[in-house]
Amino acid sequence: MISADGNVFDTAVIGAGVMGCSTAFHLAQGGMKVAIIDRGLLCREASGVNAGTLTLHMTRASLVPYAIEAWKMWMSAEQWLGAGVLATHAPGLTLAFTEQECTMLEERAAARREFGAKIDILTAAQAFKKEPGLNSKLLKAACCDIDGFATAYLTGRAFRYGLCRQSVEIFEKSPVVAIDRRNGLFEIVTQNAGKLLARRVVLAGGVWIEPMLAWFGVHIPIKTLVNQLIVTERIRPVMRTVMSIANGLLSLKQFGNGTVLIGGGWQGIGNRENNETEAIPENLIGNLRLARFVIPDLSEARIARIWLGLEAETADAMPIIGDVPGVDRAYVVGSAHSGYTSGPFMGKIIAQHILGLQPSMPLFNPARLL
């Protein structure tokens, strides 16, 4: 199979998470004929199951400028994508309960300020004004106005709408089994959608970028983090900011529907090979204790659901966005820390690069990790 009208695709994006979908969307907007291929459904892995935090506190310091741009894109998705993810603007607080955490908080805030994040240090009294539900044992807080959250599970529905509007052809439940180069084209063999021909390919498979790069004989190790997430049933309003602790191991927010999401990267068991995950009870209890300590009113909340998602991390914990080393017209986008926050913008800049435009911000050359 080629494309519906018998032509070759200008670009085939493999991997339909936020990065892949945004890349496909912007390429199509730039006039290309685009296919997006996924072995599962749109945004049903990390992009659909993450905590939805849109924060600068947890973004790596040097990625702050990217995250600020992406934050604006999430907040205005209804305009540029045509459908949104209930992105909500709320101040973000990072909290310190020990002297050691106070030091860490100051250091981390300073590092991010250098890259343009407007983070202020608040006394406990100032923090209680922003967030009255906080534990009175609080010593200090860092506050950033550019923060908030999205409802991650709506990501697939929103991008499907946007991609359809841009006439991107979507091939779901179509695992790629082989890629060959023939007559200057990529021949992408899929399990359920036959063969697709494309002039360019973009690898956007999140934690699966490592095995994808191996299709081309390129070896870049990518670590898989197995993050646990917990959500409560709907409860009365008990918080109005997005919270974390100094070392980053908590993310806490209450959605408009009253549910409270508790995350922060406490690890479970799992691997990308068979994509099976399982929570570690002690880590669930630890994460819950931390959340309840921060907002004591959470005691009464009942847990409604626990799940896990895989997050990618490269050797230097920075993204890989650029040309696949040594392979003409093959590109890669992904593996960004806090990738959901910055995802839409990362897709946009790789699309600009592929379209021959100057990317709004520098890419992250994968060759550095060879």
Binding site: R157, N247, G265, Q267, R289, L290, R305, I306, W307, A317
Partner: protein
């Protein structure tokens, strides 16, 4: 540490007929066994006892008598029981976490037997969420345990043998049953007769129930179902009933009737509980006649996951009588797998039990078939009917998501929040998947909600217990 680490050879979840027999059989073979149940006493749904503060003034019914024998047997055994304990998490290395009156607790075991029975299915209609409308299973709890009537005048609707059991209990308790509305036709009952005759005692009991209902002057409306319920004056409910076809779809051209009552009891059969087996990623298969998705098993109670066993109706609707034997089968198989029986001894013990189980399940499975939901039945669920009660998701919203391209139940869940509430889709999962299957062509293609913890909603306070900040093992910092 706030949790206490207990080790056991065998952990049994659910103290119904299958769970008790599995636990006692395994304990009698010399294994250390822990039996956990959310209820204050053993018995499960069918053999549920009255609260211990209550005393019987009448002769025990058959079910009450069997329940009493079961509880006595358990009491005399070496099984460690933990009642009023809610299991919220299980792992593949067979760790079970629960919360109880004394706080959080966990165990690790070598064999985990899931004997968690079934969940009731209700095919939604507008008004099924109104106060005064309860499930057949809920009604049996009221009647059996609390000796309480659902209302002065009650309408009993749905399908299967539970209808007559509940209606007869209401009559017996001095209540008035306005009508019994059975989606099963007289012909469907007649088709089940050859199997039903295999248990003349149970069949006779059923006939006595029907006679009791008829003597009370209650009409039995066969091949009919509730179309909608609306609030009526003085907190009463106005129920519209209409005939259904062989697929249990409402025949809109047929004449409806309206019945005004205080309470409605409704149930459309039972769905095997798969929350634990789904959470542990066991393989499942869809068998409509057995109630829906069930964990695949080797007929000797072993699931596809090492150390995970199934007993009773959790592996397909077969009835309480069969569950008693199936529990024993589970206890023996676990005893053999854990080295307490050699192969000859196991075979000698297991064969007669298996025979009895097959005999007993004939009746139960015939009942199960009467309760099974024809795939087309959900065509009659109206657009404004709430399908997911936790999240108030209507049929119309589900159809909109399907029209936008949702083709798998977990995708549907993400797009609409159906199944995201505290029941985790136990109530709506079967219905949502059936609605989607009308589009995808099969229940297999529609899939099932991925099993997720917690198995039951538990509060942060219950799980976390008492602790200080310094007790929290906070992992090392994320990269700067």
């Amino acid at each position: 540490m706030i949790t206490t680490d207990h080790k056991a050879d065998v952990l049994v979840l659910g103290a119904g007929p299958a769970g008790i027999n599995a636990a006692v059989t395994a304990a009698n073979l010399g294994l250390s066994v822990v039996l956990i149940d959310q209820n204050p006493a053993a018995g499960g749904q069918v053999y549920r006892p009255m609260p211990f503060q209550f005393t019987h003034t009448q002769e025990l019914s058959d079910a009450e008598a069997i329940g009493a024998v079961q509880r006595e047997k358990l009491k005399k055994s070496a099984v460690f029981t933990y009642f009023e304990h809610t299991v919220w998490n299980v792992t593949r290395d067979l760790r079970v976490d629960a919360v109880g009156p004394d706080g959080p607790r966990h165990w690790v075991c070598r064999a985990l037997i899931v004997a968690t029975g079934t969940t009731e299915r209700v095919v939604p209609f507008p008004g099924w969420e109104l106060p005064g409308v309860i499930g057949l299973a809920a009604a049996t709890i009221l009647l059996k345990s609390q000796k309480m009537l659902p209302g002065k005048t009650t309408l009993v609707a749905g399908c299967g043998p539970l209808l007559t059991a509940v209606a007869a209990s209401i009559v017996e308790g001095g209540g008035h049953v306005a009508a019994v509305v059975d989606a099963a036709s007289k012909q469907a009952w007649a088709r089940g007769m050859p199997e039903l005759i295999s248990r003349p005692d149970l069949l006779w009991q059923g006939i006595k129930w029907i006679a009791k209902i008829k003597r009370a002057g209650t009409p039995i409306l066969s091949a009919s179902a509730i179309e909608r319920i609306e609030p009526s004056k003085k907190n009463r409910l106005s129920v519209t009933v209409r005939p259904v076809d062989s697929q249990r779809r409402l025949i809109t051209s047929a004449r409806s009737q309206t019945i005004v009552v205080d309470a409605v009891v409704v149930g459309n059969g039972l769905v095997p509980s798969t929350d634990i087996t789904r959470a542990l990623r066991a393989e499942h298969e869809y068998v409509n006649a057995l109630g829906g998705w069930i964990a695949k098993n080797d007929q000797l109670v072993r699931s596809s996951v090492d150390g995970l066993y199934l007993a009773g109706d959790a592996c397909g609707i077969s009835g309480a009588a069969a569950a008693l034997w199936h529990g024993e089968l589970a206890g023996l198989t676990v005893g053999y797998d854990l080295g307490k029986l050699d192969v000859q001894a196991y075979r000698a013990l297991v064969e007669p039990v298996r025979k009895e189980f097959y005999k007993a399940r004939k009746f139960g499975r015939a009942m199960g078939r009467l309760m099974a939901m024809p795939p087309q039945q959900v065509e009659s669920v109206s657009a404004e009917a709430i399908v997911c009660r936790c999240e108030d998701v209507t049929r119309r919203e589900i159809e909109a998501a399907i029209d936008e391209g949702a083709r798998e139940v977990n995708q549907l869940k993400a797009w609409t929040r159906c199944g995201m509430g505290p029941c985790q889709g136990r109530t709506c999962g079967d219905i949502v998947a059936s609605i989607l299957a009308l589009k995808t062509g099969s229940r297999e293609a529609a899939g099932y909600f991925t099993g997720r913890g917690p198995l039951r909603p538990v509060s942060l306070e219950q799980i976390t217990g008492t602790y200080e900040y310094s007790d929290i093992p906070i992992p090392k910092a994320a990269p700067l």
